[in-house]
Symmetry: D2
Subunit: 443 residues, 4 copies
């Protein structure tokens, strides 16, 4: 198909809306308010221009529009990019969304030829493409910040690989561990979080472009070409799936929520460790705040905020699961609600990761307090039981009961296990020898 030279004249629509051909009335004010998404989706502008550039190149390559028109469009899009970047672009709510805002501006700049860009394309495949590009980048950004936090944790782990502290279960001292070992557990959690973001990114990396409204297009487009140019692994074969799928967004929201939950666990520990009762950690002034009424206060606000922000990431996940529930194919306007929560969870997880990195890297750990807590908490009781099994061939269950009685004795005497005398212990189990004292040391 060869583009004709002379375009024909266009009719004048009654409604200013681009889709308003057969409409007699403009949208009501409240309708416009509930309908407009530009305040939220303008954040997709880079992706929208990138997608339009790829689409335009393909239209030219396939002779669907002329090279001349293609060049005009590309030049116009470039200018729009500069305008938005510099803050000179005026976003208009009456133009509803980022796609219409950019297209309308393109027409201002290059005239009616702008209208050729939307050939063989719909807002449905356009927004799906933009959004996938955005989430793909977001995954990379989150992964980068996870890596930075992991590095910080690694550094502390190396420094404190031998700093003894009580390992807790039920927030009760259980057995001696090291601070390095404790924090390293979070490294492993973050590794799995990273794996989830990678999986999400890989799964979403398919191009919806060319699906048009829902059924493809009769124009001889080349979907491989746009998919390649935009860095997608392939294009989505089912065009209805391409425009209506949002599981990629929900999966991203889940990855954020799960990572946030992991951060909330460490945040809780930081808050507890920072109490004068525990005194395991002191946060730097840079990462603490004071009170407007209590001058002595130094509060772990960053840790509390990180803990609290799990709420919004859980909420965002439920938001999208609710939106998609029972939604028939293909595009429905409900889907407009898909971006705000994704943007919010992304901003939140990035902020939390950065804050955690800063808070941890500037914190001071009090290894003396940790060691003392490990020594005070009967944390070697399990070793005592294990000694009984290994040396007296006692079944573990019986060793457990013997140890329980020895612990009770130490509790009553208000002393550590290692402070009990051998006769005391032999009073419970006569075969115990003084080799037992090695097992009772914490370090």
């Amino acid at each position: 198909m060869k583009p004709m030279k002379k375009p024909i004249k266009k009719p004048k629509p009654k409604s200013s809306q681009m889709w308003g051909g057969r409409f007699e009335d403009k949208p009501a004010d409240i309708m416009q308010q509930i309908n407009a998404s530009i305040d939220v989706d303008k954040r997709l502008w880079r992706q929208d221009i990138r997608g339009s550039v790829a689409h335009c190149n393909m239209l030219v390559a396939q002779n669907i529009i002329s090279e001349e028109d293609g060049e005009a469009i590309l030049k116009g899009l470039e200018q729009i990019g500069r305008e938005i970047e510099s803050g000179d672009f005026e976003f208009k709510p009456e133009l509803e969304d980022i796609h219409m805002n950019i297209e309308a501006r393109l027409k201002d700049i290059i005239g009616d030829v702008a209208g050729r860009l939307h050939t063989a394309r719909s807002r449905n495949d356009q927004v799906a493409t933009d959004f996938r590009l955005w989430v793909r980048d977001a995954c990379s950004a989150v992964i980068e910040d996870i890596c930075k936090l992991e590095d910080t944790i690694d550094t502390i782990c190396r420094e404190h690989h031998a700093s003894v502290m009580p390992g807790f279960t039920h927030l009760q001292a259980a057995q001696p561990i090291t601070l390095g070992m404790h924090l390293n557990a979070y490294k492993h959690m973050l590794e799995r979080d990273k794996g989830r973001f990678h999986d999400c990114q890989k799964r979403l990396n398919e191009s919806p472009l060319g699906a048009a409204a829902l059924a493809g297009t009769p124009f001889p487009i080349d979907r491989d070409m746009t998919a390649n140019e935009l860095g997608f692994d392939k294009y989505m074969h089912n065009t209805m799936d391409a425009v209506s799928a949002r599981d990629f967004a929900i999966e991203f929201l889940f990855c954020c929520a799960q990572c946030g939950i992991h951060l909330s666990r460490l945040a809780e520990e930081v808050i507890i460790w920072a109490t004068p009762q525990f005194k395991f950690i002191t946060l730097s002034d840079q990462w603490s705040t004071g009170s407007s009424i209590m001058p002595q206060k130094k509060n772990p606000d960053a840790a509390e905020l990180i803990r609290g922000k799990t709420g919004r990431m859980n909420g965002n996940l439920i938001q999208m699961l609710t939106v998609l529930k029972g939604l028939p194919l293909a595009y429905n306007k409900d889907l407009q609600e898909d971006k705000e929560s994704v943007f919010d969870s992304f901003d939140t997880i990035v902020l939390c990761l950065k804050a955690f990195e800063g808070m941890l890297s500037s914190a001071t750990f009090h290894t003396d307090e940790m060691l003392a807590a490990a020594e005070d908490g009967f944390t070697t009781a399990t070793r005592l039981a294990d000694w009984l099994v290994m040396n007296l061939n006692m079944p573990f269950r019986d060793a457990h009961h013997v140890t329980g009685r020895i612990v009770k004795m130490a509790e009553e005497k208000q002393c550590r296990l290692s402070d009990l005398s051998l006769p005391d212990m032999q009073g419970v189990e006569p075969k115990i020898t003084d080799a037992i004292y090695d097992a009772l040391k914490v370090a």
Copy 2:
């Protein structure tokens, strides 16, 4: 206690933060970013000033500050109110929140005497007071919009009290009802929603002011006076509860979510009714949108958006339930996450109520299509069964089986029940008389 005449000179703090007395470092950039809430809580400015005015009046009445200082403070607050209203007020993130922003500006205007306003008060009771005032107003606003929507529904119900349509169960035509009866069901749901907002408003209407940080204050304050001036029913006796309770916010979020769910049910019906297959309703152009690619489309976007926005109200509810889970007393910084979701659910439910009102009031109902659907769907089958019970003294279960066989016959003949001949029906149950035809009429 009589205020002294000559104030003493103040020391110069190292940190610019109001609480920075013993801090050597300023907050890190990311810390400031995660910590600042001014972008969200500036929306409380009216309530903050209102609370401060009441607090100031009480401090003067109780001779805690001088009348002169009190007047200066009130004048300053008034000016700040004008500045914010007119858009001339500069909100500063480094001042963290609305309270500090207003207090700092007060100091600019009236000098050091501004510092006396915070006597016998903490940000903890201040924000709790502001927030309760805000939610109290929000309840009233939502109730007003529910009433408007109810009025619109009432109008349509009156107009269509006799417009026959099929009542659906399982989205299958069940029995004949009227459009008025159908929409009136939503009136009843909205009435209960209104009741929930009323209950929420009543339950929260207690004053936290005077609880200070968490333990009250040694100053001889009059908590009844501030409670009265602010329109609260009473003050909260337990000061720790006063600063840490957020169940009022969660209850508000629940009320919004539940009301949103009700709207989503009607929204779903509007969407289904607007299909060409049902053709029960046509939305006005003002409340529809078109497609950027399919020129014939007229889409019920408003209904879809209302349905979709249930997601964010469910999400906001989960957000706050998550934040409060396991949070020890009294104030924790996690609570800073309390306002954004409340503001968002409020904006959402108000927008949805207004949109629904506009969409419904301008819609056209096609009573002919509804009547036809009622006539086609064997919707009088239950009446037939009831007739058998009433007139032939058949147990209902048996009448149900007889009717089932008559329906099957009509289905096979592809006719309505009322189109079956008497001999046909008597073939199933010989005692049927032609009085049956009255029961088979839809209207």
Copy 3:
């Protein structure tokens, strides 16, 4: 209408299902499995019989069925009640639900006259009635358990009205309070929770009975009579609302979730207080558990379980909000999912309330440790600042800064505020006199 004497003969249905008149095939196995609800809803048996008795009495009173038949039905229902109570009743999944199980058994016992009970009634209004009765009782039961927990809290509050402990904000010691005051805060939260259950109970107390499938019934029923007999305030005027409304169930789920959140806050405190680092509380052996491997452990399992069970109550709330989203009128089978979560949240909140009551009433509070913590945490710093304002007429902001510097001095000297010398304090603010020491005492 007078019931006729001689009933006619019934036809034989092909499908065993009560509704199977026009069905040629029985349900598939998996269909039966997904469709049957008897394992869950058999719990409604008391309410189902109670509702049937009221319905039967009304049918007789209105001459819709004969006295003789009515008596047979009542006697049959009574026998079924005894059978279920004694465990002799066989619930059959192929009969789907509690309603059909009872009706089928009724037929076994009294024969075909059983079929008359379902006159002028549908399973739709029947289950709505049963479920409202059940939730109404559930509210009373929860309220009773809240009251018991409140009583226990009251007892402890009275005993410890003067036991000084540090009040915390951000889990940092803030100001001295008493244990009585702290626990009393939870009394206030529980009071509001109770209020919510009362409101829920009041709002739901309307009778759906008589709405039949969705459109009422042509039989001359007396809805006031059944509403009265079942203790409802009135009957629901809109019959479509009557069968499709489930906001009462969602509201109940919300009340449970919110109450659970309150319990989780105190549970978290109990867990923290029970650490050897805090040592504020010791749980009794009856309310603790040990470890299968660490013989010294004594774990606050009950508190942890109460904290953890917030999860399922939040989850149940979201479950029902999701189910109802976008559900058209009137009855849809999705609504079958309404009972399991309500039963589960009820069982959970009752168990948590009882467990909390037992755990608290048998716990030991260590007032000496609490007092020491209050004395160590600079908790009188705010009083110091207040003293400066009251006695030196310093603006609060300035007093705050002075106090901050004095706290820092005490921190450096590792002493309490009350251990600082007067000259030390005067070095920061010369006008301080030794009257200051009264303000620095914790008690």
Copy 4:
């Protein structure tokens, strides 16, 4: 270390609990009730025995217990397996959980040597191992059922690859598609769901066994050996992570919820298509139900239940996210709440997949109704616009407006686009030729 021959005598504990050595009181009744998990976790019995066998084999191989003892233990475990399988095993709530129930029974059978099995193991690593094994199997089972549903969809797609129907956006006819294409979209969604289950399964396949309570064990165990025997890819290096991580369970819950959401979309479509207004599909009698009061009803209950069951899968996801929020390391009793929701989501998704498979494979699609709907809905309007662009070189935007006016004309004339006369269309755009009619055909 060589096991000694003669075991020593065990002391008699006061409390019957295995961990009760130092406890003076038995748990309170309510404590036992809230604490016991056997009703739920008995479902792990196969995994528990499998894990114990692997642990026992390793203990023998490492000379930690004697071969003789090992054989006795294995024989005992085998017998227990048979007892549970045959229903002869008595589960006792006072033994708390599946681990203690099996261990206690083992002691009944083989005597005190049973106590040696718990050497170098804790319930913490034991339950984590059991649960990972269970979820691993669950992923395989779900994947299998997804494959079966995909096969059924494929079969229908092949049969209906050319059955024209309207593609919908906003539930309004948009463009002609085929039924095959529509259903194939779900195949793609299910493929991604399957990918998520695969990723989840792969990520969780690490062995916690050997982590003991949280800190490993001094016994010379071989963690590689147990990991291998149990089919894990490797063992978890961080022992604290091993016992406290539950992200694998949450990820599984998410996979179920997301898959459920996809099913709910198709379920909604089936419900809408089954209305007499759409008449696109008729469900078989095997997958439909009737009404107890309305004899003509044939309801798509299975589809409604599948749609409704999304609620519980969303709820279960939120349940676990809530439980894990802010939970310090390592094991806490809150984690006991982890299994019920996982079991429930598994049962639910499997039931939904099977039900969908059965419902679809036995359904009848009405291709004539679908074709008619495609022809009536102006669904070729976009092709008309594309024709204008391709043949008249009109910019798409202008073509869109021209088409809008032609659609309006057809609407007013109440005819299809293809029924408009050429002069009619030329009245809007004179350059249109009769070649246009090819573009207006639906098929």
